[in-house]
């Protein structure tokens, strides 16, 4: 979202004949960028203000004030035991993701390639995609009890339908003309898969992964809240049962920040590397 907005006030190439106008244009561009940054900061100020106001309204026992939460967060970081819980949660999220990709991608591929499998899977996959996450969380606990497998299963169940639907959509969007071209030049099915089908679906898979990731770590934490033995969700439940709300919020804030960083660093990087061939920038992806 951000980069798109920054691109707006870009001044194009200018003629040397008009240095004044060029300088003026650059000045207004800089002014506009400044104003944008200021308004962006104002957005954060607004978040802070709303938080303060709400906790004043309900009292700081029901909604701790920002600096109290900050204090709890610092405590959590200082004791250092957050590392174990974070890595447990992240590992479970990625494990669930892996399972979802292993199951969902082939299903999506079959749905995109063959009419029979599309009819076979379509209803089930769309229904699975509309079931609320809490149902998956509790179902996973029923199947596996209190163990690390529960959150993994929950993440997999939530993500697999998205992966399947996106891959199917991508496969169906494959340019048929490229396939006929490959056939005319006698390419083997394996070559066609590798050179035509896979590159076409990569953007769709990334869209699915980014969309899923935002949902997946929440489901992972949710499952841990219901019955986990480690991880961020487990800590959140423990603190909630002790009525230490500021610790609950501190864990949440830390986890959100951590996951946003992972998303930006890992996923966005990989995506821009793999999609270098695209001539134009992708639209705002959220």
């Amino acid at each position: 979202m951000t980069d798109q907005l920054v691109m707006g006030p870009d001044t194009g190439p200018s003629t040397p004949a008009a240095p004044d106008r060029e300088a003026a244009a650059r000045r207004t561009a800089r002014g506009r960028r400044w104003r944008r940054t200021a308004v962006l900061a104002l957005g954060w100020v607004a978040i802070y203000a709303v938080w303060e106001a709400t906790s004043w309204w309900f009292g700081s026992r029901l909604l701790p004030r920002p600096h109290e939460v900050l204090q709890s967060a610092i405590e959590i970081i200082e004791t250092g035991n957050f590392v174990g819980d974070f890595s447990a949660s992240v590992l479970k999220t990625f494990a669930g993701f892996g399972v979802a990709a292993l199951v969902g991608a082939p299903i999506g591929y079959a749905m995109g390639r063959s009419r029979y499998w599309r009819a076979f899977f379509h209803d089930g996959v769309t229904i699975a995609g509309t079931i609320p996450a809490i149902v998956y969380a509790v179902m996973s606990l029923i199947v596996f009890g209190l163990s690390n497998l529960g959150p993994i299963l929950a993440v997999a169940l939530v993500s697999a339908p998205y992966v399947a639907l996106n891959v199917a959509e991508g496969i169906r969007g494959v340019d048929n003309q490229l396939i006929t071209m490959s056939e005319a030049f006698g390419r083997t099915p394996r070559q066609i898969r590798r050179e035509v089908l896979v590159p076409t679906i990569v953007p769709f898979v990334f869209a699915a992964i980014r969309m899923c990731f935002a949902v997946a770590w929440k489901v992972e934490a949710l499952t841990e809240v219901f019955g986990g033995r480690s991880g961020v969700g487990f800590q959140i439940r423990t603190e909630y049962q002790l009525y230490d709300i500021s610790a609950v919020l501190a864990w949440m804030v830390l986890f959100i920040a951590f996951m946003l960083v992972i998303e930006r660093l890992v996923l966005a990087k990989a995506e821009s590397r793999l999609l270098a061939w695209r001539p134009e920038e992708r639209g705002a992806a959220l």
Partner: protein, 257 residues
Amino acid sequence: MAVLTVTNLSKTFNLGTARESRILDDISFEVSGQTFVSIVGPSGCGKSTLLNIISGVEEHTSGDITLTSDAGGPARMGYVFQDPRLLPWRSVMKNMMYVQDDQSRDTVARAERYLDMVGLKKNADFYPGQLSGGMQQRVGIARAFAVEPDLLLMDEPFSHLDAITARGLREQLQDIWAQSKKTVVFVTHDVVEAVELSDRIIVLQPGGLIYEDITIDLPRPRRQSDKAVATLQADVLARLETLKAMAAAEPVAEPVA
């Protein structure tokens, strides 16, 4: 060289609810040896469809197609489509290599040579999205040449190019053809082009029948500016005039009996 035999070929497209349209109707012809065949006919009469069927990317409804290599071994095919059809996620050079069976250094050198022939050596590392439409089309032409096929199918390959570039490529095509003994099936709108290049012109008429099969017997190399080409072209055009009237009258889609 290859021998292509088309016998009683028909093609019907299903248009959904109880309608179908017959594009090719019982067509037979044979092309063999080092022959350059042009297929001309009004727009929409089924020229691209015929090439697609010959190349195997489209199924035919009935009839028979056989393709034989007379040198022994499988007949290799090259196809210049009406549009470029390049993989957008691969560079120009990778697109050239994609259709090659072996990836040896010789093959790379050959691909580079043909890329140079169409004037795009500098652009080998470009993605197709960074080329103009005509440049992409030229990559498509180089790609088909680079497989050095026994049977070369070309669907209006020069129609998106400027006159000078097109003339250069036509001359190159004649040279390559003269040296390498290919069988070429060439679709075009342009009668002058057809007369300049071909040994034989097959004229399709709307409704998918062969209207006429003209043999061109002029000495090579030919140029469009040659007097003989100009006279013959006028002659062929005059014969095609009658087709125009038919194009207007012919119904395309008919209800299924």
